[in-house]
Amino acid sequence: MDFGLSQDQQILRDAVARCLADTSPLEHVRECAGRDNPLSDTIFGALHDLAVPAMLVPEEHGGLGMTLLDAAVVAEQLAYAVTPAPFLASVVLAPIALSEAGTNKQKCQWLPKIARGEARIGVAISATVQARDGAGVQFVEGKLSGTALFCLDFEGADAYLVADAGGRLHLVPALASGLKATRLTTIDRTRSVGELSFAAVETDPLADDGGTASARLRDAGRVILAADSLGAGQAMIEKAVDYAGQREQFGRPIGSFQAVKHMCAEMAARHEPCRALVWYAAHVFDALPEDASLAACHAKSLTGDVHRFVARTATEVHGGMGFTDLLGLHYWFKRIGFDRQVLGGPEAVRAEAAALQGWTRAA
């Protein structure tokens, strides 16, 4: 047994971290966050130079055929630098969906382009977790109708992958007739989400697999959101510790006061086990698929709760400065807030985890 990152994964982590330290400084994040479309072409270009878009594309389609754990390693770094770049849907979920449930034609048409960074696909599966505001998409007589909320990596997508009411996935070109795409604005201005309305839209469905592929996307999405939360939490803890070591009050650094020190220790104590859990959940997605859903639920719900605590506590350690825009700490705070809610908040995900284990009696 070797429970940890491989040498290759450590190299990948360090390469992405260096790349983002150069291309995603806070000034650039601020600039992107002020735009309607926050996704940064410069950063995506730099990630493309590291072959990040090719990570999860199978080798026979021009990709690297890497694992979800590799993607989780990258996600953590993206969040550490609050990177406004497309990733979750276009680099992770779309290649998984196409590889596992796409037709041969769909694979040949899209996967090589995704690997080369020439095509981006947004993913809308939120209604398979919890439909709000009556959202839902029906697949009737070969056409899609209805509304899909919280399409991820929305801006600049060439096509969207949408789950219908039966969990089957559909590929719809962004310019399809009868499709209306509306931007949704969230607390997290480093992410891009939107709403898709379908009025009898022609679709190119993926395999009719009874929702297997969309369930896999849910698992993968939750693991990557958990990894993102982990990276953002790591950054907030480091910032709180740094600040507490520099800021002086009553002639001593505030970090020497136990009231402050213990806040930091509590963050670290709750945060650190999440790292091993996220690695585990990402690893079993590929290596032990029968354990993947439960592990994804655990990783998503635990990071959701732990990092809400971290986001709040790290902000408090910064005192009034944490509340202002001056330090930009709120970008991480909001990133964590996004990661917690999307694809199921802790309570919803734990209810699923209970059902998976047969702990919920059929109503």
Binding site: F3, S256, A265, A276, A351
Partner: protein, 224 residues
Amino acid sequence: MDIPGIEVRPLKTMTGHAEFNETFFTNVRVPVDQIVGQRGQGWFVANATLGHERGMLGDPDALENRLQALIGLMQQESIGEGRAIDNAVLRDRLVALQAEVTAMKCNGMRILSNSLKGEPGGMAKLIVKLQSCEVAHQISALAIDAMGEMGILYHRSPRERDGGAWQWNYMFQLGLIIGGGTAQIQKNIIAERGLEMPREPKLARISDEAKGAAGMQTDRQGAA
């Protein structure tokens, strides 16, 4: 322990049992070859023992055992027509604790892998005692809550569940949160050794000279 001058008095705790003792030494003569380590290195030896004690208190497999017992209890314990596990609030707490236990097991495997490679345990290891004792205590707390009024039965009462083990654990694990370095001391260690945060300022310390005069150990780690 049968050398003359050693007196052992069982120390009854809040659980009603005596889990440990007070030990009194009166002019006890110990042969030189029975010294553990070297003379004057008592603190070092005791600290090493404490390190093992913390590791043992944080055993993730023990957490898993308690969790499995809790799952069994919640499936058996009835509330009206249903079971405790059918209650959405109790079930939510159970799954949350299951996630915590899974995380601690993964964390344990990470520490083990690091240790096999000769790498330091780092933060993953420093947090084990604090986190595990907390999770263990919460598992017992949920068990008591899932039992409702049955949760207060103790002292071999009729209808008592599992020989009163959950109440005993709930109290004993509070003892473990305090013993082996209290939770507050664990937080100092995590902050100062793990996060490299500033120590208490010098003014608040007893100066080394004063300690020397009082015959106290001058090693700063005395605080741990």
